[in-house]
């Protein structure tokens, strides 16, 4: 299986949008390496023709009527969903400039 080294950890951390310090990378190389070495035992299992089980339910996903439920306004008269926002400008979530 894969060799767990600094380059791999950095690459994967980047995919997950995580910034890691050098000592964190060293620690993860070690601990993740150990865990994946243990996981290698799955190679012993004969899985020929076995359908993977990804879901907890057997039934296909149930559908329902697409009915809009108004979430409503919060205590200060703005959309309630904005109440848990870290930063708000008028009726929008505020983020740094991304484009341009």
């Amino acid at each position: 299986m894969a060799e767990i080294n600094e380059e791999l950890i950095r690459k994967v951390a980047d995919l997950a949008r995580l910034e890691l310090k050098t000592q964190e990378i060293d620690e993860y190389v070690k601990s993740i390496g150990e865990i994946l070495k243990h996981v290698e035992q799955l190679n012993e299992v004969n899985v020929a023709g076995v359908e993977p089980m990804y879901y907890g339910v057997d039934d296909p996903l149930r559908l329902r009527v697409d009915q809009v439920h108004e979430f409503g306004l919060g205590a200060h008269g703005q959309p309630k969903i904005l109440e848990c926002a870290p930063d708000v400008l008028e009726n929008a979530f505020k983020v740094p400039q991304i484009v341009g």
Partner: protein, 488 residues
């Protein structure tokens, strides 16, 4: 204050006038303020006292001093809610700095059902961050202290819930269980803990860790209370398409009837040889085998079985759960919710912004996100995620085969009793291996529970683990009641 043994006892005390919801709620808050267990992250004192006051007025007024047990089965019962479950207007942190200031705008279906049945919410329970841990040493809000032995871990991730029930800080609590996070702390703290069949209880309002495994469940002082809470919470929910339409039985009735005349005749108990390996603590083995023997003496048939893929449980789980977690935790980007560091707005790019926000995750959470992302990434998906999914199906097949011969499967909950604080926290793999007996039932989506059956020489609790077939909670609760009455 009195240490009530069950919800039934509390209701009797309400009926006799010995106490009332307001007095009991105040007593619990007294205990909580005096405790050093760090079991709660947020207390809902104002909200709870208001709930208790209304219920007390109703008890004395419209209910004429008789608790309406039929209509409101949890009337006036003070509960703790694991902080991974949302309550409208209440701070919900999932044990993480990422949600330190998050006030949830909606209530989890399971919690709503409990409150609609008359319960009082005392507060939000401490837990391992994002439900990732087996010892409650991963909380951003400090460790939870074991209810009786302060040098030991209470187990995790529902450590706060377990400790609080054991230390008389609430009548019962909700935990969540993905690979053992209800059953393990229940065993370590000496309380009853139950994980329902996957799909019994809606996950709406449960902050997701691994969506094909996560389940909410009760942590209680008695099997009857676990049955009652499960019954109230179970049932289909429009807001969770993985929540089953399977009918909910009267499980508290099953427990009540079984307890009235405990008779183990006809019960076929499966004992899997793979769960009694070297490495199990001798006292744990003795206590569990002793409990099985007592059930045998009471008429149960003990049948040796094999679950051949057991040894792959930890590997299978830690690939699948972590892959799912890496996806579920990608929503924490600081845009719509979450803690934004002060300099986040100065970011020159969205990536930089995300990285600054996601620095709020603790070490174990980051480790799991990295592992999960890796196992799903191009070139590794088949070798890890798909392979684990295939082994998972084989493990489920092991159980289906075994349940053709037996009604319930029993084992230890964990190879040891509560271990020392710091003993495994430096070695993630060792920590993961504590879940070896609880994980298989999670992977297969089976109902399972931990019932305390003894203590070791240090006085630490030992739990008996029981597993029943999918949607056979009636069988599970029947067997658990027999264990509680005959095998402790």
């Amino acid at each position: 204050m009195k240490n009530y043994k069950s919800i039934r006892e509390v209701h009797d005390a309400y009926n006799s006038g010995e106490t009332d919801p307001l007095k009991l709620t105040r007593d619990f808050f007294s205990n909580i303020h005096a405790s050093s267990h760090n079991a709660f992250i947020t207390l809902c004192e104002t909200r709870a006292l208001k709930q208790a006051e209304v219920l007390t007025q109703d008890l004395l007024g419209k209910y004429a001093k008789r608790v309406p047990r039929e209509a409101l089965p949890l009337f006036g019962i003070p509960l703790g809610i694991k902080d991974v479950l949302t309550i409208d207007g209440v701070r919900t942190t999932a044990g993480s700095k990422m949600l330190d200031h998050y006030i949830a705008p909606y209530t989890a279906t399971a919690v709503q059902k409990l409150e609609d049945a008359g319960s009082i919410t005392l507060g939000k329970m401490n837990m391992d961050e994002f439900a990732m841990g087996s010892s409650n040493e991963n909380s951003a809000f400090g460790n939870v202290v074991h209810p009786t032995h302060s040098d030991r871990v209470p187990g995790g991730s529902s450590g706060g819930s377990a400790a609080a029930v054991a230390a008389n800080l609430c009548m019962a609590a909700l935990g969540t269980d993905t690979g053992g996070s209800i059953r393990l702390p229940a065993s370590f703290c000496g309380v009853v803990g139950m994980k329902p069949t996957y799909g019994r209880i809606s996950r709406y309002g449960q902050i997701a860790f691994a969506s094909s495994l996560d389940q909410i469940g009760p942590m209680t002082r008695s099997v009857e209370d676990a049955a009652l809470l499960s019954q109230v919470m179970s049932g289909k929910d429009t807001y969770d398409s993985s929540c089953s339409t399977e009918a909910v039985q009267d499980w508290s009735r099953v427990v009540f009837d079984t307890a009235k005349n405990p008779n183990a005749k006809g019960l076929r108990i499966g004992v899997p040889k793979e769960y009694f390996i070297d490495g199990i603590n001798a006292e744990v083995k003795t206590a569990v085998l002793g409990a099985i023997e007592k059930l045998k003496v009471a008429g149960a048939e003990v049948i040796p079985i094999s679950l051949p893929h057991t040894r792959y449980a930890v590997s299978t789980y830690y690939v699948i759960a972590l892959c799912e977690a890496s996806s579920n935790l990608s929503r924490f980007d600081g845009v719509r919710f979450g803690t934004r560091p002060k300099d986040a707005m100065e970011s020159k790019s969205l990536d930089e912004f995300y990285k600054k926000v996601r620095a709020n995750f603790g070490a174990e959470v980051k480790r799991r996100i990295i592992l999960g992302t890796f196992a799903l990434s191009s070139g590794y998906y088949d070798a890890y995620y798909k392979k684990a999914g295939q082994v998972r199906r084989l493990m489920r097949g092991d159980f289906e085969k075994a349940f053709q011969k037996v009604d319930v499967i029993v084992s230890p909950v964990s190879p040891t009793t509560a271990f020392k604080v710091g003993e495994k926290s430096k070695n993630p793999l060792q920590m993961y291996l504590t879940d070896i007996f609880t994980i298989p039932a999670s992977l297969a989506g089976l109902p399972s529970m931990s019932v305390p059956v003894g203590r070791d020489q240090e006085g630490l609790s030992i739990g008996l683990h029981l597993i029943a077939p999918r949607f056979q909670e009636s069988m599970l609760f029947k067997a658990a009641t027999l264990a509680e009455r005959l095998a402790t």
